[in-house]
């Protein structure tokens, strides 16, 4: 069995390893190095400036605004998405008619799961064009058209969803919720279905109602999935580049007047538009640090004794 084992292992690992290190690992590491320089990006000339980029970042008002928007997204995106997904997952799995046989899923549960999940497989580019049309600021946009039809809005002064400083970030958040809920519904459903039935039977025999069953039995047993989801959604909340750059005003988005700016869009503008590559790298490092901190804090705060079943 040991015959010619090592040549085989090396032969199989070498090509993927070279590719992966060249395009993924090495750029990751380089970012840290470049973030300590004043590199412009056009040539290989740069000088080492220490932590100047980082201190400049924290005096940069635009960057602070962007960071604040990311933090808002980090709070609201997971909360809204997970609550909706849990609600729908519970409905789909136990919201059905109670019969002599017991509580069951609603009819057509499979269809709901297929439909809800669909936005998840759509490209963010499709979401951009789609919601560009939905949020159009004249009566021909889907949202304004609907509100006018319902007489909730005056046709002569339609709402400028993406141009209104106080609305724009929430409009973008809504898109991500719209697209994401289905995935977490399916995730929670899978977890709910792996809970053994006798646990429910015991709870029901002890006289637990439906909401009690949910909060005292289902939710604690789903805790692992909720935790994982939270980390996943946080990573999404740190991105947001495509939605902002595609739907809002300005080079790589962020408008009106930085009211939808996020760290990723500011990074891209510094890198490809202002030609400040070192500065952009420092932002990349900050994005990674915030992501890591949020993941660690989420896992730490939500840690509970794991319930084995």
């Amino acid at each position: 069995m040991q015959h010619r084992k090592y040549p085989f292992i090396v032969g199989f690992l070498i090509v993927p390893l070279v590719l992966y290190v060249t395009f993924v690992i090495w750029p990751y590491l380089q970012t840290f190095g470049y973030s300590l320089t004043d590199w412009k990006g056009e040539s290989q000339n740069f000088t080492f400036v220490g932590f100047d980029n980082y201190s400049a970042l924290f005096h940069d008002d635009v960057f602070r605004t962007a960071l604040w928007h990311n933090i808002l997204l980090l709070i609201f995106l997971p909360v809204i998405t997970i609550l909706l997904a849990l609600f729908f997952a519970f409905m789909v799995n136990v919201g059905g008619r109670e019969t002599a046989g017991g509580v069951q899923g609603v009819r057509g549960a499979g269809v709901y799961k297929v439909v809800y999940f669909f936005p998840q497989v759509l490209s963010v580019a499709i979401l951009i064009v789609l919601f560009g049309a939905v949020y159009r600021s004249d009566p021909s946009g889907l949202l304004n058209g609907a509100l006018i039809k319902l007489h909730l809005e005056d046709a002569n002064s339609p709402i400028e969803w993406l141009n209104d400083p106080s609305l724009v970030l929430w409009c973008l958040l809504a898109i991500q919720v719209w697209a994401g809920v289905g995935f977490y519904l399916v995730l929670f459903s899978a977890a709910m279905q792996s809970i053994p039935k006798d646990i429910y039977e015991a709870a029901l025999l002890d006289g637990a109602g439906r909401s009690q069953t949910f909060f005292k039995v289902t939710l604690p047993l789903l805790w692992d999935s909720v935790q994982t989801s939270w980390v996943y959604i946080s990573i999404f909340a740190m991105d947001f580049f495509a939605l902002v750059s595609g739907l809002t005003q300005g080079t790589y988005g962020g408008g009106p007047d930085h009211h939808s700016e996020v760290m990723a869009t500011y990074l891209m503008r510094n890198f490809l538009y202002f030609g400040k590559s070192g500065y952009a790298c420092a932002q990349g490092v900050i994005i990674m640090l915030v992501t890591l901190i949020v993941s660690a804090v989420t896992l730490r705060v939500s840690r509970r004794d794991r319930i084995e079943f």
């Binding site: 590719l19 002599a100 017991g102 490209s123 021909s140 304004n144 429910y200």
Partner: protein
């Protein structure tokens, strides 16, 4: 956690006696009563919310499809008008104005990137899952750990790496980058799959004198087909929909450089730069063209897609 989601599993509490719900002693009379009001109210309630969200999902998409049959004046008018007459003109215009080229570019890249991702990812996963050697764990974490970091951390050096290799705005550059960035998930998924395959078959093949390589290609890889299918669908959807990598790497470098935009990127560029010069029906038609393959793949394989994506995240 690879159990596919089946509808038969949906009834979680099928076996639970209804009478037990409120903790009252169960009588036959009780069961009849339970069939009534309480259940129905909840049923209407849950169906109401579920249907509402389903409408919220389907409505905008259906509205776009409808828009691709309207003319410009109809789209600029009320949002709720029907197309005056149904024609496929907009689809032809969208195809001619670039969507056709973008579609072709994406297909060319994926013909190479998806099979190569699967092959290289499986090779790594197989070696790491079934062979003991010093540094095995280190390589495993190196490959899988890449999925933890945001793309943005690598973006600036990646751009210059590809530039120095002379591969900006080329198919081969994007193919290599797609493969590299798809490796973490593919390796992670296939690693757990190869772990579960029985060792007996492997040993039999080796005893019969098959080399390691031959064993992999003729015995283990065919046995891993279900896993390959799941992760393959995932890679197809992921690479078809990739956005930030082509936006960074596939920009024409000079005025004579051919536009090699991917479909997703090209569509957004056209929408932003008014490349349709206000031809919204064509833009909507372009969207339908971009969505259609995804919809077909998703509907044909929705069980594997859902099972695969949840398997990748749950444990």
């Amino acid at each position: 956690m690879t159990s596919p989601i089946t509808e038969s599993q949906a009834g979680l509490l099928d076996q639970v006696p209804a009478g037990g719900l409120r903790g009252r002693p169960k009588t036959s009379d009780d069961e009849n009563r339970y069939d009534g009001a309480g259940g129905r109210v909840l049923n209407v309630f849950s169906h109401g919310f579920l249907a509402l969200w389903a409408i919220l999902i389907v409505l905008p998409l259906g509205w776009i499809v409808l828009g691709s049959f309207k003319n410009n004046a109809e789209i600029g008018g009320s949002a709720w008008s029907w197309p005056a007459h149904w024609s496929f003109d907009a689809f032809g215009r969208a195809w001619d104005k670039g969507i056709g080229d973008f579609f072709l570019n994406t297909v060319i890249v994926m013909i190479f990137s998806v099979p190569l991702t699967m092959l290289l990812g499986s090779m790594v996963a197989y070696v790491l899952a079934r062979y003991e050697f010093p540094g095995n764990r280190l390589f495993y974490f190196l490959f899988v750990g890449g999925a933890m970091f945001p793309y943005f951390l690598a973006l600036v050096p990646l751009f210059f790496m590809v530039k120095n290799l002379g591969m900006l705005n080329t198919y081969q550059g994007l193919i290599l980058v797609y493969i590299a960035y798809s490796l973490p998930f593919t390796t992670f998924f296939m690693h757990s799959f190869f772990k579960t395959l029985p060792t007996a078959v492997h040993e039999a093949a080796v005893l019969d004198g098959a080399s390691h390589t031959r064993t992999f290609f003729q015995v283990m890889l065919p046995m891993a087909k279900p896993g390959l299918l799941s992760v393959g669908i995932f890679n197809v959807l992921g690479q078809w929909n990739q956005y930030i990598l082509p936006v960074t790497l596939m920009q024409p470098q000079s005025s004579s450089d051919k536009d090699h935009s991917m479909l997703a990127q090209g569509l957004v560029n056209l929408a932003l730069s008014q490349g349709y010069s206000g031809d919204f029906p064509a833009l909507f038609a372009g969207m339908v063209i971009a969505m259609l393959p995804v919809l077909v793949v998703y509907l044909s394989f929705q069980r594997q897609v859902q099972a695969g994506l949840t398997a990748g995240t749950l444990k």
